[in-house]
Subunit: 312 residues, 2 copies
């Protein structure tokens, strides 16, 4: 069973259990309205040695930062402000000393940068390999929550930054080229936290998510939940320097925001974003009534069998 | 560094970061007041193959139940009602099929029993061994929260059930005796969820926690946070059938509640508990002004160098 098949199976299994007000599986975070016009959001990510990171190819400090970064990205992609995390870590004997301390130093650095409290978790020994789970909690005004399901036909589709550097960096790492600029990007993802919170405050922004498994894969979840299709212009996908178009469209772990904006507000929003953050957002296409995902070039469909990146 | 040393180190590292209203590390759960007189509580536990369970010595369904049970125990030991969980699981190829499905069936059974929604998580492959993290969320009226820090001199100390069966069962399992009654208890912990919620509603109950690492170890945390000492009468520790006193006092994973009660209300509370649940609670000693933990027999101190169970 694939990861998505397993998740669908789980959703069906749990369908009969009361939700206690939680809006659960299916978005970047679960949402719980807590009254006073506010909600909390929750997300969890597991990082496994040998699957998500290689101990010889990243420092403990970088892995500490990355464990947190990928969760902050999920929180911010709902428009929410991350406020706290729980960290669980299983450590084999050869990582229990210096490695663990440097990991925590990296985790603390990024926690301080985004002002997220560490409120709990678990530490234990491991028989083989390091495993890390982070659960992140965010807070948001109800009306600012950005869901995958809110895209509307006619919306312009944007990505929040260049794509492909992380995928190119992973290839470099696997080939033993640890010191390339792309490898450094792969090891040090920069979640668009301030950007996600800022976009959350704009009503013209409809649907939002982060790109963790690759644009080609992630956008399908947004389309499915919104009941829409999309056309994406291949020439408008912002390819990071040193990467290529297919890697930019298909490789994972860029952690850039993917969002849709009401057409009549798109240009103004892009200008305001650039004023605020000093970097552009990239219009890559538009939401359509139906018809799934269509890649285009010069406004003509291009048949491509591109899939996202899959860990599992 | 021991687990507790590592946790103290982490608390110090994060001391400068704003808490956003969370009452963090140090109790069975972190607490967040959400307004309207209510709080949410949060806890996470990691279960690692070869450390917390052996695949040949427990069924996938039992491991699914246990992964949830240990977290429900932490939530209920604050007096809170568990409402939702996030489940992260790393699966090696030989556990990705039937094993994973049976695991989820066990997890679902206990979720349905306690009406806890599954709201998120992560699934991934593992290079070696199964690792499971559960984050549980509970809800409670602020005035009912039971903290480790609330014990007062003169309080009577109670445990919520017999101790030692799980530790005896673990010994049986490790010796290859998989079918003993104690081994079944070890594989199938019964968290005292309804009992914890009920005790939470009684003002006479002051401090509460669950016994996961062993009475001898866990009570020290309660004493430290309350700034008190305790006398525990060795002859009053309720030893499970087939177990022995030292195992009952020192072995872990019994998941019974440990709590302190105002002396003048203790007898009435014990009678009401028996009426409500059909089983007794056990008075094992009293909270003292200071002097740490003193084991007694016939009201005389007994020098014992007993420690709790330690995974890590």
């Amino acid at each position: 069973m694939t990861e998505f098949g397993f998740i669908a199976h789980i959703q069906q299994l749990f369908a009969g259990i009361p939700d206690h007000g939680f809006e659960g599986i299916g978005d970047d975070c679960a949402v719980l309205p807590v009254g006073g016009g506010e909600s909390l959001v929750f997300t969890a990510d597991l990082l496994v040695e040998g699957v998500h990171f290689l101990r010889h190819a990243a420092s403990a400090r970088e892995i500490g930062r990355k464990s947190l970064a990928v969760n902050l990205s999920d929180v911010a992609s709902m428009g929410a402000q991350p406020v706290a995390t729980l960290l669980s870590i299983a450590l084999p004997p050869d990582a229990a000393g210096t490695w663990a301390e440097e990991f925590m130093e990296g985790y603390r650095e990024l926690s301080a940068e985004y002002s997220t409290a560490l409120i709990g978790g678990d530490t234990t020994r491991s028989a083989a390999g390091i495993t890390i789970n982070v659960t992140a909690i965010g807070r948001i005004r109800d009306e600012r929550i950005k869901r995958r399901s809110a895209a509307r036909p006619g919306d312009r589709i944007f990505v929040g930054g260049e794509l492909g550097a992380s995928g190119t960096g992973l290839r470099d790492l696997l080939a033993g080229r640890l010191d390339t600029p792309a490898a450094a990007v792969h090891r040090n993802p920069q979640p668009q936290v301030a950007e996600g919170i800022w976009l959350g405050r704009h009503d013209a922004v409809h649907a939002m998510m982060d790109i963790s498994d690759g644009l080609a894969s992630d956008i399908l979840h947004l389309l499915e939940r919104s009941g829409t299709g999309a056309e994406i212009d291949l020439d408008r996908i912002p390819v990071a320097e040193g990467s290529d178009l297919e890697t930019a469209a298909c490789a994972g772990e860029d952690y850039k925001l993917l969002f849709t904006v009401a057409a009549d507000a798109a240009e103004r929003l892009a200008a305001e974003f650039r004023d605020r953050f000093g970097s552009p957002i990239y219009p890559i296409g538009r939401i359509t009534d139906s018809g799934g995902l269509v890649w285009t070039r010069n406004e003509k469909p291009v048949p491509l069998d591109w899939h996202g990146f899959r860990h599992y």
